[in-house]
Symmetry: C2
Subunit: 413 residues, 2 copies
């Protein structure tokens, strides 16, 4: 592991001196290599899928893991969309002209070496490596054991891309083992080589990061996302947004897990919405009011309000007013993504201002919580921490900056 770190540090130093065209050449060659290796990648993925099925993984996890030709093509296309992003490096973020004549610029630079720990989704291998290259960072990838073969196949393509573009191949490295001790080592003993670790995964990983991390972390908690139907919500819009937020894909972190409804609007809105959810196979777990209002809903337990189902299950609670809705989100939410549905602009602004989550939406589905949907190209994930980056983590979020000061002999009085 230390050898990986040492060589990653060296690669980072040389990568920091490349220009955007060289880094884009890596990405174009990587995308081409992935396209060319579609068959190889799907074959590797089928081995992972077989193992996952035999171990009884749930439908949501299998969906995260699965690759077909369409998804491989999307992965290549995702890398190419990163090519077209503006250069995240050398951007002048701020200019300060001082009275003493000093000209100060704050200029974006790479972070250095980034460690990425992720679980079942193999496309993270491509997205994360591509974003790191675009932003001039070396990366050490540590994929989950479920996606080991898929990730290895994708990783080989990315290394080909580095080689074809004449960039140090150690700029992208992958921990060649599924041994869980490697995660601990990356989190605790690599501070000399790794500038930041981005963990992407479930509760076990989050707990490990909390317990063991000695390196800086860009935090990714689970996504316990809420849709709140304010009393002035449009009924059709409310139904469409709830169905999309919950059911478009249930296995992603931006999927809604809890629906909050104003008491004044519960009777008007809920029967229709829950009927539509039941129709597409979504289980509904409601509080007592909900259960008494709509037949076929189960009674939610306290644990439901803090559960990320990642599955076709939705918890539903009736709240007295917007303050209670905001308080519920503050108590049970994970600071990820929440949406209010309302035609009342005052209520909307209160929600957008007071809800302290990375992404707050008005009249739109929580499933827009995605770097691509924000115009960032791909993303590594949605950061729920407050330090360094929050919300979608794209190429810009993988940079630091330095101050460049040009003088003419100034000394400080």
């Amino acid at each position: 592991m230390d050898d990986m770190g040492r060589s990653a540090r060296r690669a980072a130093t040389s990568l920091a001196m490349t220009d955007d065209a060289q880094r884009n050449a890596v990405l174009k060659a990587s995308a081409a290599a992935i396209r060319e290796a579609t068959g190889v990648i799907i074959e590797a993925n089928s081995r992972d899928m077989a193992a996952a099925k035999s171990r009884g993984l749930g439908a949501a996890l299998l969906d995260r893991l699965m690759l077909d030709a369409e998804r491989v093509e999307a992965m290549a296309g995702g890398i190419e969309s990163i090519v077209s992003l503006r250069d995240p490096l050398g951007r002048v973020l701020e200019e300060i002209q001082r009275p003493n004549g000093l000209r100060i610029q704050r200029v974006s630079v790479p972070l250095g070496v980034i460690g990425i720990i992720y679980e079942s989704r193999p496309n993270v291998t491509a997205d994360a490596a591509a974003l790191c290259v675009k932003s001039g960072n070396a990366v050490i990838l540590r994929g989950g054991s479920e996606s080991f073969h898929s990730s290895q196949a994708i990783y080989e393509c990315m290394r080909q891309g580095l080689g074809k573009a004449g960039v140090d191949a150690n700029a992208i490295q992958m921990v060649p083992t599924t041994d869980r001790a490697a995660v601990g080592y990356l989190l605790s003993s690599m501070a000399e080589w790794v500038d930041v670790v981005v963990p992407r995964g479930g509760k076990n990983l989050i707990q490990r990061v909390q317990d063991e991390a000695r390196v800086p972390v860009i935090g990714h908690l689970e996504g316990i996302c809420h849709v709140y139907l304010h009393k002035d919500a449009d009924a059709v819009m409310a139904r469409d947004i709830v169905l999309n937020a919950k059911m478009r894909r249930t296995g992603i972190c931006g999927a809604a897990e809890t629906l909050l409804v104003d008491r004044d609007a519960a009777e008007r809105l809920l029967p229709d919405i829950i009927a539509a959810l039941h129709e597409v196979g979504c289980e509904v777990r409601g509080d007592k009011t909900v259960v008494s209002l709509v037949a076929g809903t189960k009674l939610a337990s306290e644990a439901d309000w803090s559960t990320e189902y990642l599955d076709a299950i939705l918890s539903v609670r009736v709240v007295d007013d917007i303050d209670k809705a905001i308080a519920h989100i503050g108590t049970y939410g994970s600071g990820h993504t929440e949406s209010i549905v309302t035609n009342n602009p005052v209520a909307a602004e209160q929600f957008l201002r007071e809800v302290d989550s990375a992404i707050v939406l008005q009249n739109a589905s929580t499933q827009f919580a995605d770097g691509g949907e924000f115009g960032m190209g791909a993303e590594i994930g949605i950061a729920t921490g407050r330090i360094h980056a929050r919300g979608p983590v794209g190429a810009d979020q993988l940079t630091s900056y330095k101050y460049v000061v040009r003088g003419s002999g100034q000394v400080r009085p």
Copy 2:
């Protein structure tokens, strides 16, 4: 400690909802209270100074600790200069208009609760608390035992400011003990209550942070700052900058500790500069070339190149060329602040681009490494980490952001 954390979290939530005028009212009242309490603060400081002298603290540390009427006035003035800064909260940092009609804004918000661990300089109490209030953050201060009485006296004034402006007094709290275990607890067990810790101190503290931190940290290493005299440096400018960078104040992190000189210019520049340094009482420790060139210089040991003297001592090394200078800084520097003196624009741009430090200067003293000199009002320190903030940490650097998304019923295809 947990009670402090819990009440700080509550205060942070209410502080986040205040507007700039309310937060400025706190600062104005605090500055007035500090001015009024000048005698009390100096009396408290004299107790700290007496204890420090009896424990044999060095001149640089005593200078950091000492408060007189002028420094107390500067502290009050520093708080007032923060008042006049633009509101760091609610700033729209980025606007994204999506083809589907979603309007996305990235808006600055407070970090939440900030823990600040610092050592001897008591003015950090005022600067740090004021910057946290300005940026809507609650703060838990943990000053050094050397400055305990001074910091307590300043802290009481800040609390008065909160009270007078009608803001929750728990927005500023101070650990009421010099027990070192409190530092460990703040670093490791307060993750639920503290969003980020800013450690300011010497090697022991840095080591503790490295070993024990389980909460996010905005890193502050020591400042092993370099001045590099390129062969095309102007002799007078070189001398003035070296003298100022080393001797203006020797006890601050932006003071130069090592001077690098191109071999081609050593004979032209060094005798005059070292004579001037000797004249003002600065010890010079040079490599063999330097020692043979200038009488009265001592021979530097390997350890000198990585020593932050914080005193009137300068290590001096002759290098073959700019690449060797940049390599020396990469090996021995702490990523804080480095300056090149040259009239050669190509060399300057290479140095500014390739030296990977928080602040890189051309033809200016390293002692400009200061938030005030950058136009940020006061500062908590100069971050040498690469995550979240780098260089001077002022009010803007104590914010996070969230994405506010306004839609009209959009669902994701």
